[in-house]
Symmetry: C2
Subunit: 326 residues, 2 copies
C-alpha cells in the first residue's frame, strides 16, 4: 500500500531539479513551462494498462515506467518534433509498496536522461489494476511538421530498424520460451527505442511527405497514412527488414513467416513516405543518425494495401492489426 | 464492447472543427497547437477511476466526462491561467457499448463549450474498470502566475463559493437519500464549477499572494499553501461559507457539523491569500465576476493550522483530508 501524500513528497524531491525552461515544476496546481518562440506545441498521450498492455510479473516497474515514456515520446518523433516534457498519471493498486514506487521513479528518471525530457507533473490514484498514462509535450517549427497525411502516389515507403521483433518477443515471453534467440527479441519488446533523432532530421530536412510510428502493426499503421487518405500501397515482403533472430524462429511461432512483421504491434519504428528523388537524401540522413532505414514499397492510387512476395504474388493476411496482451 | 477503430473514427468526426490555433488536431500522432507569444504553457493532469472516484451506476457518462474535464481545468484556473486544450485518455471495460461512448463524447463537447477548451488528442484503451485521465493545457503571462507558495504572515485567507456541499452530496448519494435538500447537494458533487474567471482576474490584477483549488478538503489544501511553505493558518469556523442546504442537514450526516466543510473533498473552490490592504480589490474582483468570496482566516507564523470556533476555542478534527469513494 502506497501512501499518496508521502509518495507525492518523494516524487517532488526526485524531480525538483528543473531546467531554466521550467518556471513551475512538479508540486503546484499545474506546471508552467516555456515554449520556444515561434514553435508549435506538440501534445500526445498514451496508456499502459495492467493485463492489457503488460503483465505485472513480466516487467519491472523501472522498465515499465521507461517503456510508457518511450511509447509516448515516439509520437512526438513521428511528427518531426523535439520531446521536452512529460506528465505521468499513475494508478496503483493496494498491492504495490514503496519499493515499487521507488523503482518506477528510477524508470522515469532514466527516461528523462535517455529521451531528453523533464517530468513536470502528474497524478497518483488508487486503481484495481496498475495504469500509467503519459502525456508527452514537445516543440516543432510550423514548417517542419510531418503529418500522417501528405503522401503522394509514387512516393517510396520506408521503415526504420526491423519489424516484428517486439511481437515475436511478446509471444516468446508469454510461452516462457528458453530459446537462445529469446533474450534479444524479448528485450526488443521490453525496451522500445523511439527513433527521435531520425524523425527530427527527416522533418528538418524536408525529406518526407508523411510519417507515423508503427505501434499497431505495419499494415494497420500504413493504412493510416495511405488508405485513410484516399491512397493505397504495395509492399514487397522480401524487402521487409527482419532481424536474424526473427528470421531464424518466426516460422515456429506464427502461422505465416511474415505475420508478426506485418501485423505485430509495438515496433515503434518510423514508417514514412518520400518522393523517389529524395532517395539519396533519406539515405544520407539515416546514416548520419546511425539508424537503418529500408525501402519496402511504393504508394499507389489505392484504395488498398497489397503485399506481394518475391514472385509478385499477393500475400493474404489473416489479421491486419495489433491485438493487445489479453 | 466498443470497437477501438470505429470509436476513434467517431471521435475524429466529432472533434474535427478546430480553431485557428490548432495546426494539427485529433487523428495524428500528436496534436500541434499555437501558444501565445510570451506566454508560459500550463500543464496538469487528473484522473477519475471507477470505484475510486466514482461509481458507474451513480453517474452518466456525459456527466462523468464533463466532471473529469472540470476537475482538470480547475488546476489551470488556480494558477491564474486560461485553459485552452485538453487531451483525454480513456479506459473502457468490455461492458461499455457504443451508446456509452456517444454519451461520453457529448460530455466532452459540453465541457469544451463551458470551459472554453478544445479536445485535441487522447487515447482509448481497454481496462477492467473505467478510467478517464484528462490533461489540461493552458496559457499564462509569466508575470501573472500564482503559485501555491507566496503567502506571508498576516495575509488574509479567502475561499470562493461554499464548502462541504460536494462531500455531503456524496454521502447522501451513497446512502440513497431522498431528503429534499439532497438534489442540490448531489448536484454540487456531480457538477463541480471550477472558478476559472475568478482565478484569472485575481491573477491578472495581482491581488493574491498564493492560490490553490480545494480538491482534497479545505484543511489539507490550506496546508499546501501554508504549513508546507513554513507558515501556519488560523481559520474561524463561524466564517466558513456554508450553503443553506449544508446548514440544515450537515449535522445529521457527519460526527461534527464542520467536518465536511473542513475535510470533505471535491469542492473545486479557490482558496487564496492576499495582503490585508488588497481587501477592497479582492471584493471588487469577486463581484465583477459574480462569484462570492469569503474571508475565513489569517496566515500565521505557524507551523500549524488551527481552527477556532466563535469563542476562540480550538476545534480538533478527526480527519484532515479527503478520503476517496472506496
Amino acid at each position: 500500500m502506497i501512501d499518496e501524500l508521502s509518495a507525492l513528497r518523494r516524487i517532488e524531491e526526485h524531480f525538483n531539479t528543473a531546467s531554466d525552461s521550467v518556471e513551475v515544476g512538479i508540486g503546484d496546481d499545474a506546471a508552467a513551462v516555456k515554449i520556444a518562440h515561434g514553435s508549435l506545441l506538440l501534445a500526445t498521450t498514451d496508456s499502459q494498462v495492467e493485463d492489457v498492455h503488460f503483465i505485472k510479473s513480466f516487467i519491472s516497474p523501472r522498465v515499465l515506467a521507461r517503456k510508457s515514456v518511450a511509447v509516448s515520446v515516439s509520437d512526438i518523433g513521428a511528427m518531426g518534433g523535439v520531446a521536452r516534457y512529460i506528465l505521468a498519471s499513475v494508478g496503483f493498486s493496494a498491492d504495490e509498496d514503496e519499493d515499487y514506487l521507488a523503482q518506477m521513479i528510477s524508470g522515469f528518471r532514466e527516461s528523462e536522461q535517455e529521451f531528453g525530457v523533464e517530468l513536470i507533473g502528474g497524478n497518483l490514484s488508487t486503481s484495481d489494476k496498475i495504469f500509467l498514462d503519459i502525456t508527452a509535450l514537445g516543440e516543432i517549427e510550423p514548417e517542419n511538421v510531418v503529418k500522417r497525411a501528405g503522401a503522394c502516389e509514387g512516393d517510396l515507403i520506408y521503415v526504420s530498424g526491423t519489424l516484428g521483433d517486439s511481437a515475436l518477443g511478446l509471444t516468446l515471453l508469454k510461452q516462457g520460451s528458453s530459446h537462445s534467440d529469446s533474450r534479444v527479441l524479448i528485450e526488443r519488446h521490453m525496451y522500445p527505442c523511439p527513433r527521435l533523432e531520425l524523425g527530427r532530421q527527416l522533418a528538418v530536412n524536408g525529406a518526407v511527405t508523411s510519417m507515423i510510428d508503427v505501434s499497431d502493426g505495419l499494415v494497420l499503421d500504413l493504412g493510416r497514412i495511405t488508405v485513410d487518405k484516399g491512397l493505397g500501397a504495395r509492399i514487397y515482403a522480401d524487402k521487409l527488414p527482419l532481424s536474424s533472430e526473427y528470421k531464424s524462429i518466426a516460422s515456429d511461432y506464427a502461422e505465416d513467416f511474415f505475420e508478426l512483421a506485418l501485423s505485430g504491434g509495438e515496433d515503434y519504428e518510423l514508417l514514412f513516405t518520400a518522393p523517389e528523388n529524395n532517395k539519396d537524401n533519406v539515405s544520407e540522413i539515416a546514416s548520419s543518425v546511425g539508424t537503418d532505414v529500408t525501402e519496402i514499397g511504393i504508394v499507389t492510387a489505392g484504395p488498398a494495401i497489397e503485399i506481394v512476395d518475391s514472385n509478385g504474388k499477393e500475400i493474404k493476411l489473416k489479421r491486419r492489426g495489433f491485438v493487445h496482451f489479453n
